[in-house]
């Protein structure tokens, strides 16, 4: 899983049926210290994240389908958590 910041939304009418009624968020990947890491992902939102929030991204299909409670479907990236705080130990 990775940290990311919600930066936008994607609206779509014609899509694979698994995305019907789902919110798609465009999220920029972050380093643990909150800097942009480069790269983005479009993820299904199951935690009602808002733009600007730091979130936890799952990018793995089997886990995503488990959350959606489906056995098949082209779903992979998902917003699975809203981050409150990240603490990094500087060793």
């Amino acid at each position: 899983m990775r940290l990311a910041r919600v930066s936008g939304t994607v609206i779509s009418t014609f899509n694979s049926p698994i995305f019907d009624g789902q919110r798609l968020l465009l999220c920029d990947y972050l380093n643990p210290d909150g800097e942009l890491a480069g790269g983005y992902v479009i993820a299904v939102d199951v935690v009602s994240a808002a733009p600007g929030e730091t979130v936890l991204i799952l990018d793995e299909g089997t886990g995503a389908r488990q959350i959606m409670e489906v056995s098949g479907g082209p779903i992979r990236a998902m917003v699975v958590g809203i981050i409150d705080e990240v603490a990094i130990s500087r060793l």
Binding site: S7, G8, V10, S12, N15, L24, L26, I42, P74, R90
Partner: protein
Amino acid sequence: MHLGRVIGTVVATEKTPNLEGIKFLIVQPLSREGEPSGRPVVAADAVAMAGPGEMIYFVGSREAAQAMPETFVPIDHAIVGIVDQLHVEPLPKTQRKAKK
């Protein structure tokens, strides 16, 4: 999933039988701002509605095959949606490194 733009079509007569009837399109991956970014890929059209010029989103790896009616197919990229609207906040101009 990533944003992409359909920039062409692909026709293949000789192909592995599992690929019969699947429409293939050339997709240019896009950055978050909608600018071309990276190498174009050939993607199967799982929505069967995408055409050249359209902004779409696509999925890669194993999940691409899951987009098709028959899921045990040799596909590594699939178009799974057509973008109607995209709202993206601009990146901050400077990203300062956090002080240690």
